[in-house]
């Protein structure tokens, strides 16, 4: 089922939570809504679900406008941030809830419900947990129960609000991979909200990056990571070094002073920086190494420029061993790849 969002805006009092959002989500994709807190991503998700009212704009699910429909007519599966499991009900009854509350003429028989719940328990790898209460489960298990509960009503679309937010790092990674696999099996159009760029890059088919109630960029993970369209996206997706400078005749040149004309900022990822001992051209920057540390195969080198700003560089093991850098050494750096933004056009 496709989701089509057209001209959606949302205001809470004086606070503009969403500005004129337009978005197309193809059927069967797994899409991440990524952004910092306050970017409007959860509001948008809740509006698609019908948990927040839609005043401006339309939302089409499978080409049907759902904006005025009540949540229980929208056929959405919603997984809440802290799961919102019914504490007094067993895992079985939690999952069966959506089927049991159907009007009599639409309600499946008890056996059908039981069979469906068993099937879902198998799907989320929780066979044998049917009689447990939510309090007796771990965080990851609760999350999977919440997912099974949302899937029980066979929703057209699946919406997840910060699905892994409350879990510790290791479980989060496991569950991420599991969600990816589950999605490959069931192929329901799925939208999840996250503030964790790594999570979005890791799981999603497509990422929608939001900031201050607007969509900054939409694209496949590699696309948004490799070619960010704005300084915000650059900054948000991973570490970045900022170089001040100016643009003359379409060429960027470094400058330590704040410029009054043609001011520009160059954005360079830490692994896109070349380090040399000798000054080979004028387009290099002199810096002193202040700190070196390593996490696994990556070496992080921190250096200070003459104007007291810092540069972070990442090298792989071979590169590092070849250079054999020492703390306190003076070196020259230059960007291998850089994206230049003119500040007037953007603000972070």
């Amino acid at each position: 089922m496709t989701i089509e969002i057209q001209n959606i805006s949302k205001k809470y009092g004086n606070f503009q939570a969403l500005h004129d959002i337009n978005l197309h989500i193809p059927s069967g994709e797994l899409v991440a809504l990524l952004g910092p807190s306050g970017s409007g991503k959860t509001t948008l998700l809740r509006m698609i679900a019908g948990l927040e009212s839609v005043e401006d704009g339309i939302i089409l699910v499978d080409n049907e406008n759902v904006a005025s429909l009540h949540i229980n007519q929208r056929d959405v599966g919603f997984v809440f941030q802290h799961y919102a499991l019914f504490k007094h009900l067993t895992v079985f009854d939690n999952i069966a809830f959506g089927l049991q509350v159907r009007p009599k003429h639409k309600r499946p028989s008890a056996q059908t419900i039981a069979a469906k719940v068993d099937e879902l328990l198998a799907l989320v790898k929780l066979e044998g947990f049917a009689k447990r209460y939510p309090a007796q489960l771990s965080g990851g298990q609760r999350q999977r129960v919440a997912l099974a509960r949302a899937l029980a009503v066979e929703p057209k679309i699946l919406l997840l609000d910060e699905p892994f937010g409350a879990l510790d790092a290791k479980v989060r990674k496991e569950l991420r991979r599991w969600l990816r696999k589950l999605h490959n099996d069931i192929h329901v159009t799925t939208l999840f909200v996250t503030h964790d760029q790594e999570e979005a890059l890791d799981v999603a088919d497509r990422i929608v990056i939001m900031n201050k109630g607007k969509v900054e960029q939409v694209g496949a993970p590699a696309e948004v990571y490799e070619s960010p369209v704005s300084p915000f996206v650059y900054d948000f997706l991973g570490n970045v070094n900022l170089f001040r400078g100016r643009v003359i005749d379409g060429q960027f040149s470094f400058s330590n002073q704040a410029e009054t004309t043609n001011e520009a900022v160059g954005y360079v990822r830490p692994h896109h920086i070349k380090i040399e001992r000798e000054k080979t051209s004028d387009a290099v920057i002199s810096a002193t190494i202040t700190f070196i540390h390593t996490i696994g195969p990556i070496w992080h080198i921190e250096m200070r420029r003459d104007d007291d700003t810092y540069i972070e560089v990442e090298l792989n093991k071979e590169e590092f061993l070849l250079l054999n850098l020492q703390v306190g050494e003076n070196v020259y750096v230059s960007p291998k790849e850089m994206k230049v933004f003119i500040p007037e056009d953007f603000s972070i």
């Binding site: 809470y12 019908g50 948990l51 927040e52 009212s53 009540h70 949540i71």
Partner: protein
């Protein structure tokens, strides 16, 4: 207003406002309107009558003393219940609420009999030459009884939720146990203590059932304001009763507001 998909706002809000209006707003407004039908002179004559003034004085002093003693003992009880393990703790914790559950008339009658000249406690005090029943001390005893749970129940949860770490930090920085209490714990429980105190005070000011039995109700001596309202009503002096009632009501509200402001000020002070 933020829209919300949960059902039932209209009907529950309707029931709530209707109920509150009918049972709280309208009757209290009526009381104030009724007072307004008196001229200011009449009003002042009634409420500054010597016997009335004396009744206020008795009500205020006894309620204040009782609330103060309750604050001290309530803090002690809450502290012991939260911090120590001892036999009968659960039962005692349950028993604290007895004054809420026991009808005030029963409490008053029981205390009057216990502290009366021939009662179990009364004869003892009688020998010491300190009569309790039918004096203002009796009123204080009754008010201490009915106000006992307020401070305990306000302070208890705060003490329970106090993070252990701050105390441990204070101790690790070399504070003595007393200094830790004085500088770390006490400031945390002041708002709850004030709230409990004010509730006990407001309750004490208006208390009738437990007091009439033990007070002796002698005009100019042990007659409390609620009792005076009662006797005015028995003489069908509705205007007089209303005037005294309004003054009492305003007194309680003033206390509650003052305490509220103190609490807010304290919280702000803490946050800085």
């Amino acid at each position: 207003m933020k829209k919300n998909i949960l059902p039932g706002f209209g009907i529950t809000m309707g029931i709530t406002t209707l109920y509150v209006s009918l049972f709280v707003l309208v009757p209290i407004s009526l009381l104030l309107i009724k007072t307004a039908s008196l001229s200011l002179d009449e009003f002042i004559t009634i409420v500054t009558n010597e016997r009335v003034m004396h009744a206020y004085k008795v009500s205020l002093t006894t309620a204040f003393i009782a609330a103060f003693l309750n604050a001290i003992f309530g803090l002690l009880l809450a502290w012991v219940l939260v911090r120590y393990r001892f036999p009968g703790r659960r039962i005692i914790d349950g028993l604290i609420d007895l004054p809420f559950a026991l009808p005030t008339a029963v409490a008053g009658m029981t205390l009057a009999a216990l502290y009366g000249p021939e009662g179990w406690f009364g004869q003892f005090f009688q020998k010491l030459g300190i009569p309790i029943a039918y004096t203002s001390s009796g009123i204080v005893i009754a008010l201490m009884f009915i106000g006992l749970p307020f401070v305990v129940r306000m302070v208890q949860p705060v003490l329970e939720n106090l993070p252990k770490e701050t105390e441990e930090a204070a101790t690790s920085l070399g504070a003595s146990r007393f200094q830790t209490f004085h500088k770390v714990i006490f400031p945390e429980i002041v708002p709850a203590l004030l709230a409990g105190f004010s509730l006990a005070l407001a309750r004490g000011l208006g208390e009738y059932g437990s007091v009439v039995f033990i007070a002796g109700n002698m005009p100019m001596k042990t007659e409390v304001a609620p009792l005076l309202i009662m006797s005015k009503l028995e003489q069908f002096d509705y205007a007089g009763a209303t005037a005294i009632g309004v003054v009492m009501l305003l007194l309680s509200f003033t206390f509650l507001i003052i305490i509220n402001i103190l609490q807010k000020w304290h919280r702000k002070h803490e946050l800085r």
